[in-house]
């Protein structure tokens, strides 16, 4: 199949449906907690009591994450037409000026996600540091986009609004003040 990308009004409702289905199944929607579970499975319990938990109770969430990996593969290799992401021309121009020359012509920037990233130590370091911030931050905030922005905001919880504001403080700072200096040297 060669399907076009889905618009927001299809994607948002399906995310809400996923959350509702998990809640009605007696579980909850939260991906970043699986990072903790994975550390527990890998034996991190010897380093901190934070990882001493019964990971078997979280097995369903690991299975869910495994499903998302398969879903990504099915979409990329079977469903989705291999077209570039149609970006705002202003975004394309800004990225082109910062050396991301495939902006507007690819699904993901090759500098970070293409095979050439492996031979660029700075690209590998970028992904490692970025991932580190994601793991550290989501566990500190006790939730990520699924737990706070979707589940927490939709159940009208103040802590999740504070977390979501934090997401944007961090994201806007890096996008507007760090990446413009970082991307050109990638």
């Amino acid at each position: 199949m060669q399907l076009s990308p889905w618009p927001w009004y299809v994607v948002g409702p399906l995310i809400a449906l996923t959350m509702a289905a998990l809640l009605l199944s007696g579980r909850r929607f939260g991906i970043s907690s699986t990072l903790r579970t994975m550390c527990t499975v890998a034996g991190a319990g010897s380093l901190s009591e934070y990882f001493r938990l019964d990971w078997r109770a979280q097995r369903w969430n690991l299975v869910f994450v495994l499903g998302t990996v398969c879903g990504g593969a099915i979409s990329r290799f079977v469903l989705l037409a291999p077209d570039p992401v149609e970006l705002n021309p202003a975004t394309v121009a800004s990225l082109q000026a910062q050396g991301i020359t495939d902006a507007g012509a690819a699904f993901a920037p090759a500098a970070l996600f293409g095979p050439e990233a492996w031979s660029n130590p700075l690209a590998v370091l970028t992904l490692l540091l970025g991932g580190l911030l994601v793991g550290f931050g989501t566990r500190w905030a006790n939730g990520c986009t699924s737990g706070h922005a979707i589940s927490g905001l939709s159940s009208l919880q103040w802590p999740s609004l504070i977390a979501a504001i934090g997401f944007f403080i961090g994201g806007l700072t890096v996008t507007h003040f760090v990446l413009p200096h970082w991307l050109p040297i990638l």
């Binding site: 927001w8 809640l23 879903g71 099915i74 566990r139 905030a141 939709s154 403080i169």
Partner: protein
């Protein structure tokens, strides 16, 4: 277990077909140059709120007769929500991936994301170790 696997597949397909896993889309979102991501998150939150409201009014129960397992975030940990959230947001802008898309991107075959996944596990480990020294 099969149900969670299938729901995972649906979620993975949804975020890939919606280009939510594209680094470009997240960059565009933080530049306020597209409505797409705001539409995605906004409509999910509004419909999710409708679900929570209905579930409360009609006293919906989870399968097995238990109440819905809605996580209640403790109100007195706002420092961790704000600071942790900010740290995560920085990583989101760098990798273009929040935790769900980290794994979905792997499935989509963009192999260098493995490095970001390892980074996220390392960050989680670091948090677990430093936890008692951090403000919450």
């Amino acid at each position: 277990m099969v149900r969670f696997f299938l729901l995972g597949i649906l979620f993975g397909i949804t975020l890939t077909m919606g280009e939510v896993i594209s680094w470009f889309r997240i960059h565009e979102m933080f530049r306020f140059e597209s409505f797409h991501m705001y539409g995605v998150i906004g409509s999910a939150v509004v419909l999710g709120a409708a679900f929570h409201l209905l579930a409360k009014r009609r006293k919906w129960l989870a399968q097995g007769g238990q109440p819905l397992d809605i996580h209640r975030y403790s109100a007195n940990r706002w420092t961790s929500y704000l600071l942790g959230g900010t740290v995560f947001g920085m990583g989101w802008a760098v990798t273009g991936a929040c935790p769900g898309p980290l794994f979905i991107t792997l499935g989509a075959g963009y192999w260098p994301i493995v490095v970001a996944i390892l980074g996220a596990l390392l960050g989680t480990l670091l948090y677990g170790i430093l936890r008692s020294k951090l403000p919450h």
